[in-house]
Amino acid sequence: MSIPPQTVFLYSCKGGVGKSSICTNLAYTYSKTGIRTGIFDADFYGPSIPFMVRGLEQQKPNISRFTVRPGLYGDVRVNSVGFFMDNKEGMIWEDSYIDGALEQMLYSPEWETDVMFIDMPPGSGAIHRSVFSRVNGKAVIVTTPSELVYDVTARGIDILDRMQIDVIGIMENMAYHKCDNCKHERNVLDSDREVCESLGIPLIARLPYDPEFNVSNSGVPYVVAHHDTDLTDKFQAAASRIMANYGKNVTMRPRI
């Protein structure tokens, strides 16, 4: 298996918190520094990574015998079942087929990357059992600040603990809104409880609710389309903190 030891699982027990967006933007933040980076979209039930990177397509994934090699989107190697399914076409994924698809797309191909991001589906099931038991990596939990999500996140941390997956920290998405005029930061959701305090996990970053980030239909990740914004800085800082957990000291300044 050619998955690098520097593998980050982007995980949330609850859906709709922006996990895939954060996964994509973290990956492209790394790739901008010249680090060979990969994304595996393990969310078979709602694969959204292809939508987010489609504007950067250089080479589609390709199949040789039964091995599905990742495609190249910008400088990032990407694999997702979303590339191979019609937008309106569903598939009931039985466990044996999930194991097989993971074998074809994740475990068998030569990834040729130094850092890998795996966008995990929400909840816990066959995909989690397989990926967490076969891939060495650490988890970054994505959450949004609300009482409901806290409880679900706590359950997610318990699952990771049972699967013996180290948690690097939490990225709190849609945490606040910054006024364009007065720059005042205001919490968006109904809770101001500090999620990390309550769960005893380091806070990697708090990300604002930014329509340009959260509603991007261009097929180009935010950090590729934008430079030197508060948000790109936050992603660089988060990327550095995450990499420090792998004993790597990487300066997250993009290549010119």
Binding site: Q59, K60, P61, N62, I63, R65, F66, V68, V81, F83, F84, M85, D86, E89, M91, I92, E94, D95, S96, Y97, D99, G100, A101, E103, Q104, M105
Partner: protein, 359 residues
């Protein structure tokens, strides 16, 4: 809650894990298997349920071996047919033809029955798809000729009364299905759609009768053999050097005139086009004469007798096969209803183009 007429089938297109385990157990394979749901070639990759809407298949890895487990589709899912088609494939394989041998189960049959479904297992053959080249068409013709020729030394006559078909009857059946399709969907169709579909149906019915008469006068039915019945590019696997590595899918096999296979192979390789994802027909344009001739040359090399004997009826049979394929494409939604007018004229064109090619 009202009971539905038909149970929902959310697993449409795939063999369930339960059926798979049960079937493989009957072959003595497993339980440690990997089932691969993604198939295709190069950058054309599909989920298995998309490629297998009528035929359920599973690509399986066990230890270092790759297998294909296949469920017989509803239209041929009988024990008699399973016996016939697996025996035919086994005979071809034994005679050195590139037909994968259906593997034997632990109870010494070449198929198994699980939860009422009949399944077969064979080794997976790795290769490439047909690329519409003269060389590949020639090889496809050559192998079909060998296949048809080999049936003369195989005695499967005991099945003949069970699986006797004729190509014109098959085309007529498809028109009946089209009429039924129109009747069921009449509320969703515009008056123009209904008119063009009815014109297609009426014209096709008349054509089939005329084509059948013409074929009869040219000896249709004088050389009846077990035909493949669906000799198309999707059922052929080629090796890197362009030879046929495998002829697959005998689900449409029947006893029919040899011209059925020749005409179908000729049309499928030189005329029928597939959409980019290979699952649907595209609108055909002109018959590719050089490809068609290469196919016939290949056939002539291995089975001159059958080609000479059936040559004069191939144009009529080809037109009837085309009617069947076009009608299937309409029902399946491959073609827009606005294209149906164009489709109506195609069989006549094909009949004369094939006649010209064979001259």
């Amino acid at each position: 809650m009202p009971i539905k007429e038909r149970l929902p089938d959310p697993l449409s297109g795939i063999i369930t894990t339960a059926d798979m385990s049960e079937s493989l157990k009957l072959y003595g394979i497993g339980p440690d298997i990997v089932v691969m749901p993604l198939i295709g070639q190069d950058s054309h990759i599909y989920a298995i349920n998309r490629r297998s809407q009528t035929t359920k298949k599973a690509f399986i890895k066990h230890e270092e071996n790759f297998y294909v487990l296949k469920q017989l589709p509803w239209y041929c899912a009988s024990e008699e047919f399973a016996n016939y088609s697996t025996e035919l494939q086994h005979c071809f394989s034994e005679h050195g033809l590139p037909v994968p041998d259906p593997l034997k189960s632990l109870d010494d049959r070449r198929w198994v029955k699980t939860n009422g479904n009949i399944l077969t297992l064979r080794n997976y053959v790795h290769g490439i798809e047909y690329r519409r080249s003269e060389e590949m068409a020639n090889q496809a013709g050559l192998e079909l000729g060998r296949l048809n020729h080999t049936t003369s030394v195989i005695d499967l006559s005991r099945y003949r009364h069970l699986f006797k078909e004729d190509v014109f009857g098959l085309s007529r059946q498809m028109i009946v299905l089209l009429n039924e399709f129109v009747r069921r969907n009449i509320r969703n169709l515009t008056p123009e759609d209904i008119e063009s579909l009815k014109a297609f149906s009426d014209t096709s019915e008349r054509s089939i009768t005329n084509l059948s008469d013409a074929a009869s006068t040219h000896g249709y039915g004088s050389l009846v053999i077990p035909v493949h019945g669906d000799y198309n590019s999707k059922n052929l696997v080629f090796s890197e050097n362009g030879e046929v590595a495998a002829v697959l899918d005998f689900d449409n096999s029947s006893f029919d005139d040899v011209s059925h296979d020749i005409a179908e192979g000729l049309l499928n390789l030189s005329y029928v086009r597939y959409s980019e994802d290979s699952t649907k027909f595209d609108l055909p344009d002109r018959l590719d004469v050089s490809i068609g001739k290469s196919f016939l040359d290949g056939y002539d090399t291995s089975n001159r007798h059958a080609l000479e004997e059936s040559k004069s009826r191939i144009p009529s049979v080809a037109a009837a096969v085309l009617i069947e394929l076009l009608t299937l494409g309409i029902i399946r939604g491959d073609y827009k209803f606005s294209d149906v007018k164009k489709l109506t004229a195609m069989p006549e064109y094909v009949e004369s183009a094939v006649k010209e090619m064979l001259r």
